[in-house]
Every structure is written in structure tokens, then in C-alpha cells.
């Protein structure tokens, strides 16, 4: 039996999983800590992709084209988008903490439309993508884009970094505590508004990192944010809102199930994902790694 195609399908599923994880991690973190369902999360990801593209183009014009310029472009875009995140939290999101979920959704959906129009005005309607000129490499008797290794590596590194941050740093422990009991954290004298602002900026920063890392693979185009946010919601529902481990595992489940569904039952690939979501919502509504406390 030739296992090559299955290994490659597994690899493509892992690559898709890491795309979803990088994007869903910020969404899950923001909801877990702040109880804000940020519908505009993928639109901020899209915006960061355009920002990365502009910085990369600018740097290429200044210093000559080089794929390595993607690194400073991503760092620049993450910094810019974290500032955007801080501003959004300070002037918009903060006003909705005491509001009901539908109002939060309306506000963040309005952000989707506003940011979408802003992108259209600034960058126009054309797709934006960075071409790194990567050549395919041979693997298991077939060819693969080596950039997928970068995606998978980044996803695993971010997962490890987030785990270290949340479990080994003081700020991370405060964030985890806030997920379970904001009132107790506040009672200990820790300024909750500052925690919220930092978490929101961190969430947007993760989205920005995802936007930059994916740019050589996924062209940024108006409308893709609305498509991908649905899959991100599926990931966080399966994994459990607020649980990074859950988000990571759920991303792998979604990515791999989707990849193998394409191989064996392409018509039902997307349906398979949402069948899992339905199953989780029925049997474990707080997600595979979430806790009933949050639910």
C-alpha cells in the first residue's frame, strides 16, 4: 500500500490546522478573558495582511527584493496592529463590557463592514499576496510547497510560546485567573481594564502574525475574512472558548478531518466539520477542553 498520499494529506491537514490555530487563538483568548465575541477578528487579520503587504512592498523598494524582508514586515505589521487593537479596545470595545452579547456582535460586525470599506478605499479590490518565489520540493514521490513547513513550524512555536506565557509568566497567570474569575482578580488589586486592553492587543497581534505568515500562501482579498471567521468559530466551539490547548487540538481535528474528507468524501468536507461542532454542542457544550465554569 502506498502511504505517501495519506502522509501528504495529513501534512496538508496540519498546515490548514495551523492556519486555523493562529487565527483562532486570539479569538479564543479574547472571549475567554474578556467575554467579547469579536466577530471582527478575521477582518483585523485581513487588515494586517494588507499592512504586511504594504510594509513588504515599501522595504523591497528601499532595499531590493528579498524574501527575508517578510520578517521585518511581519514585525512591523504586528506592532501596528497591536496599537490598532489597543485603540479599538480603548474607544469601542471597552464600552460594551457590560452590554449583552447581541450588542457586542452588532458592534464588532459594524467593525467588519467599516474595516472592509477602509481596505477597499486604501488598497482597492485586487488580491494582495507576496510571491517569495519558492520552488516545490519532492516528498514521498510527489511535490510540496516547502513554505507549508514554515506555517506548521510557526503554529507549533506560537502554541508553545502561548503555553509558556500563560503558565510560566506572572502576566500569563493573571490572564488565566481572569478567565475563571474576573472579580477575584480585581479584588487582588490587579487593574482589570489594563489586563483587558493587553489581552485584546495580544489577540489582535496574534491575528496580525497569522496575516503576515499566510501572505505568501493565501492571497488577501475582500470577503475571505467572513469565510474564515466561521471556521474559527467552529474551532473555538470544539476546543472550548478560552482554552488554548483546546483551540490547538480543535484546529488539528478540523484541519485533518477536512483534509481527509476531501480525499474520501469531497462533497461533505465542510459538513463533516459542522457535524463535529453539532456533536460537541450536544454532548459537551463547553468544548472539549473548556470547563463548565465558563459555560
Amino acid at each position: 500500500m502506498d502511504i505517501g498520499p495519506y502522509v501528504l494529506q495529513l501534512f496538508s491537514g496540519l498546515s490548514r490546522a495551523m492556519v486555523l490555530f493562529l487565527l483562532s487563538a486570539g479569538l479564543s483568548l479574547i472571549f475567554g478573558v474578556m467575554n467579547i465575541l469579536n466577530f471582527a477578528h478575521a477582518t483585523l487579520w485581513l487588515l494586517s495582511g494588507y499592512v504586511t503587504f504594504s510594509i513588504f512592498t515599501f522595504l523591497s523598494e528601499q532595499f531590493g527584493a528579498s524574501p527575508w524582508l517578510l520578517l521585518p514586515a511581519i514585525v512591523g505589521a504586528v506592532s501596528v496592529m497591536m496599537l490598532v487593537g489597543l485603540a479599538l479596545e480603548r474607544f469601542l470595545i471597552r464600552r460594551t463590557y457590560e452590554r449583552e452579547l447581541p450588542e457586542q456582535l452588532l458592534l464588532t460586525f459594524a467593525l467588519v463592514l467599516i474595516l472592509g470599506d477602509a481596505i477597499k478605499l486604501i488598497w482597492g479590490l485586487e488580491n494582495r499576496r507576496i510571491n517569495l518565489g519558492v520552488e516545490p520540493v519532492e516528498m514521498l514521490d510527489t511535490l510540496i510547497n516547502p513554505y507549508h513547513f514554515v506555517i506548521v513550524g510557526t503554529g507549533v512555536a506560537v502554541a508553545a510560546g502561548l503555553w509558556y506565557f500563560l503558565h510560566r509568566t506572572r502576566f500569563g497567570k493573571i490572564v488565566r485567573a481572569a478567565v475563571y474569575s474576573r472579580s477575584m482578580v480585581s479584588a487582588l488589586g490587579i487593574p482589570i481594564p489594563m489586563i483587558y486592553a493587553m489581552v485584546f492587543a495580544l489577540g489582535v497581534g496574534l491575528a496580525a502574525l497569522a496575516g503576515g505568515v499566510f501572505l505568501p500562501l493565501l492571497p488577501m482579498a475582500l470577503g475571505v475574512d467572513l469565510d474564515i471567521i466561521v471556521q474559527c468559530f467552529a474551532v473555538v466551539v470544539i476546543g472550548g472558548f478560552g482554552s488554548m490547548l483546546g483551540t490547538f487540538v480543535a484546529s488539528i481535528i478540523v484541519g485533518v478531518v477536512y483534509a481527509f474528507s476531501i480525499l474520501f468524501w469531497p462533497d461533505g468536507a465542510l459538513a463533516m466539520i459542522f457535524l463535529i461542532v453539532i456533536a460537541v454542542l450536544i454532548w459537551r457544550p463547553w468544548g472539549l477542553f473548556g470547563t463548565e465554569l465558563r459555560y
Binding site: L8, L125, N131, P266
Partner: protein, 434 residues
């Protein structure tokens, strides 16, 4: 051997297995449109033209040049006096967002609130089929020029719709014609299909597989892959295609999805392993993917300007758009087809001696009109314009800053070569409104 056969052979040999712009141009054209209205000595009633095209969603990249260019073409028409020399044309634009519900809502609003005389659009077949219900109910003239499901002029036929684009049967006909010749030459036996999972994708795939089964019954489809509109990550599809090890890949992928697929499939080496003949490669793709499109790839186009450089209407159109949009402002396939629609409206009104919808649809029935693509006639039974499809090899031309189809191997698959179904069959399909 005829010239066309030689072109097919040469083409096969090449394979060898190996919104800001809109706002500004809209405002400018609005001003241009209005200016001559006051200059005309015997001005008639203004002819309101509803334009239903997406500036957002999957088809937005295809429609950008149309949305910018159509107001300029209308302004030029108005400068000549407008329809019948006295009816100025005024564009009322609406974004369909490539969504059927939005398209039908906007069509209703254009007809009931803006009182438009005619509607041009839309991009997506699914949207066009929804819009047809509205225009048929209100008896409004409808010119389709990009949405090309054969259902528009057959199952969903209405006398108010005229089609300026080769329909999905004609386009897939050109592909199965080309592929059957390539399969014979290269001994291809198997293929995998990948297509957008909506009206156009399904219709085009059906047309291709049905046609190919007739002319090359030994070539078997071993896997079908359907993906939703707006797919962002094709990695798993590409690995699944390579795992099947087909002799060739057939695709019905248009719009931004096509661009995304090509950009991801190239670096994954798909085109090095599996030939991909006949996917839609219009001037939009040739311009946008000039650096990454594999040279030598065999593509399908709908109305590429470089195929009709000798036509005076095309020459005039290119000249005006380049003057307005810069040296790279060559019109794409989509803009050309809407330019023909506007020409069809002007000529229809002239033949009818009226701007009345009933008079125009009566004279256009089976009529021959001048277009960017030469003199072309409407098919009597379906109001489908008899236009060719273009199959060619992506090639770097010294004359353009982007690749085009290599002129000496480009094949124009004329409508009558792939003209299915017959008029008798079309009449049977038109039962819906009987």
C-alpha cells in the same frame, strides 16, 4: 489540413506535458453623462440603465474594469447624442456583492424606485437567475454579459434576457474539443475535476464531462472535487489531486478563487506533474498573475481584446480605455462583453426606432449586430449571441507588459462548433415560463 486544425495541433504541441476607482470614474462619468444632455437640441427622455455588478465578493476582481469603463462608454454614447441621437443614457449602479438575495433586492429597487429601462448584469449565474425572476415579472430589458450558465437562456429563458457571453455549454464545448484532441495525442486516459460548488461550476462541469464522454469515451473522470465559493486554502485539494495521479486536471474555477488556486498550486508543483488545460484565463488573470502564470499553460478566455485587434469597435474601445486608465488600461474580457451589450442596446434602439423594451426585444430577435468580436447574430431560440470561445497558450508577447495567448496557436472555437443543445431541445427546456 485546415488552418484551424493546424492551430489546434500547434496548441496541443505546446502542451507537451511538460471602490476607489469606481467612485472617481463614476463621478467623472456622471458629469460626462450629464453634460451633453443640456447640449442636445431635441433631447428625449433619459434612458435609465441599471448596472448590477459586484464590487465586493468573489467576482469583484473581474468586474473592476467594467465598473470603471462602462460609464466612459456611456459618456461617449451620450456625446453622440445618446440612444437614437436624443435619449441620454444615465447609469444607476448597484453592488450585488455576488449574492443572489442582494442581486434580486437591488434589481427590484432599480426597477421600482429608480424606474430603470434596462438592467445590465450580473457577474454570477446564481445572481443572474435570481434577477431574471424580477426582470421577467416587470418586463424589463436585461442584458447579461458575464453570468453564463446555459440555464439563463434555456431553462430560465425569458424574452427579456439577451446573452452576450458564450454560455457554459459553449465554453466547456471549446474545452472538451481541445482536450479530446490533446487526449488523443498524449494518450490521456484519466482526469480529475475541480470546480466551484455553485450554479456555474456545476453547469460547466456537466457540459464538459457530457461533451468529452461523446468524443473521447475512453477518457475517464476518476475524482470530482467541489469547493465552496471563497475557499482560501486549496492545499488539501491539491494534494488530493496529486494523490489520484490523473493524466490531466479539468477545472471550472473563476474569479478570486481561480487566482488563489493558481497561486497555491504553482509553488506546490501541481502544474509540473499534472497538465491543467482549459481553465479560465482571461485578460484579468493574464494581467494580475503576469509573474506567476506558467508559460505554455493552455487557457480558456471569453473575449480577449488581442484576438480582435482588427475590429474597428475593439480598436476604438482599447484606445479610449488606455487614454483613460493609462498604457496598461487594456479592457479585459468582461469589460469587452459589457461594451458589446451597450453596443447591442444602441443598435437595438436604432433598428427599432424606439427605446421601448418591447420594440427592442422584437428587433433583436435573431438580429446580427456589430461587436468587438465582429458581426455576430443572436440565436433565434434563446437570445444567445453567437460568439466564439478562445483556447490558447499563455505566452510572453513583446507588445504587452503582460502575457497573452500566442496568436499563431490560439483557436477560436466558434459557437456553431459547440452549439448545444439544438433549438428543438432548447424549446423543450424553456417549459418553465410556457
Amino acid at each position: 489540413m485546415t488552418t484551424k486544425e493546424k492551430q489546434w495541433d500547434a496548441l496541443i504541441d505546446q502542451l507537451k506535458l511538460s471602490r476607489r476607482d469606481f467612485v472617481f470614474s463614476g463621478l467623472a462619468a456622471g458629469a460626462l453623462t450629464l453634460a451633453p444632455r443640456f447640449a442636445s437640441a431635441q433631447a428625449g427622455a433619459t434612458y435609465k440603465l441599471g448596472v448590477l455588478l459586484p464590487s465586493t465578493g468573489v467576482g469583484a476582481n473581474y468586474m473592476a474594469h467594467c465598473i470603471k469603463g462602462l460609464p466612459l462608454a456611456v459618456a461617449a454614447l451620450n456625446k453622440r447624442g445618446g440612444l437614437l441621437g436624443k435619449h441620454q443614457v444615465q447609469i444607476v449602479y448597484r453592488d450585488t456583492e455576488t449574492k443572489p438575495d442582494v442581486g434580486s433586492r437591488e434589481a427590484k429597487s432599480l426597477i421600482l424606485n429608480d424606474k430603470v429601462n434596462a438592467i445590465f448584469g450580473t457577474y454570477s449565474s446564481a445572481v443572474a437567475l435570481a434577477v431574471q425572476e424580477i426582470i421577467h415579472e416587470h418586463k424589463v430589458l436585461h442584458f447579461a454579459a458575464t453570468s453564463n450558465s446555459s440555464k439563463i437562456t434555456q431553462e430560465n429563458y425569458t424574452p427579456y434576457t439577451y446573452q452576450f457571453c458564450p454560455d457554459s455549454n459553449m465554453q466547456s464545448g471549446a474545452v472538451w474539443l481541445a482536450v479530446s484532441k490533446m487526449a488523443k495525442k498524449n494518450n490521456w486516459k484519466t482526469f480529475v475535476s475541480i470546480a466551484q460548488d455553485y450554479e456555474w461550476g456545476r453547469d460547466t462541469h456537466k457540459g464538459f464531462t457530457t461533451g468529452l464522454a461523446k468524443v473521447a469515451p475512453k477518457v475517464k473522470e476518476i475524482r470530482q472535487l467541489w469547493f465552496k465559493l471563497g475557499e482560501t486554502d486549496f492545499t488539501s485539494y491539491i494534494t488530493a489531486i496529486m494523490a489520484a495521479k490523473p493524466d490531466f486536471l479539468y477545472g471550472a474555477i473563476a474569479g478570486k478563487d481561480g487566482e488563489t488556486f493558481m497561486q497555491q498550486a504553482g509553488p506546490m508543483g501541481l502544474f509540473k506533474r499534472v497538465p491543467f488545460p482549459g481553465n479560465l484565463i482571461t485578460v484579468t488573470e493574464l494581467k494580475a498573475q503576469r509573474k506567476t502564470l506558467p508559460r505554455g499553460m493552455i487557457g480558456l478566455a471569453r473575449c480577449p481584446f488581442f484576438a480582435h485587434l482588427k475590429e474597428p469597435i475593439m480598436q476604438e474601445y482599447i484606445k479610449r480605455d488606455r487614454a483613460a486608465f493609462g498604457p496598461e488600461g487594456y479592457p479585459d474580457d468582461w469589460a469587452c462583453m459589457y461594451y458589446d451589450a451597450l453596443g447591442g442596446l444602441e443598435q437595438g434602439a436604432k433598428k427599432a426606432g424606439s427605446i421601448g423594451t418591447e420594440a427592442i426585444i422584437k428587433v433583436l430577435k435573431g438580429a446580427t449586430i456589430d461587436t468587438c468580436r465582429g458581426k455576430r447574430a443572436f440565436r433565434d431560440c434563446s437570445n444567445q449571441l453567437e460568439v466564439p470561445s478562445y483556447v490558447g497558450e499563455v505566452w510572453d508577447s513583446p507588445d504587452y507588459p503582460f502575457p497573452i495567448f500566442k496568436p499563431d496557436t490560439m483557436v477560436l472555437a466558434e459557437a456553431k462548433e459547440v452549439w448545444t443543445p439544438t433549438c428543438e431541445e432548447v424549446e423543450k427546456l424553456k417549459k418553465k415560463r410556457a
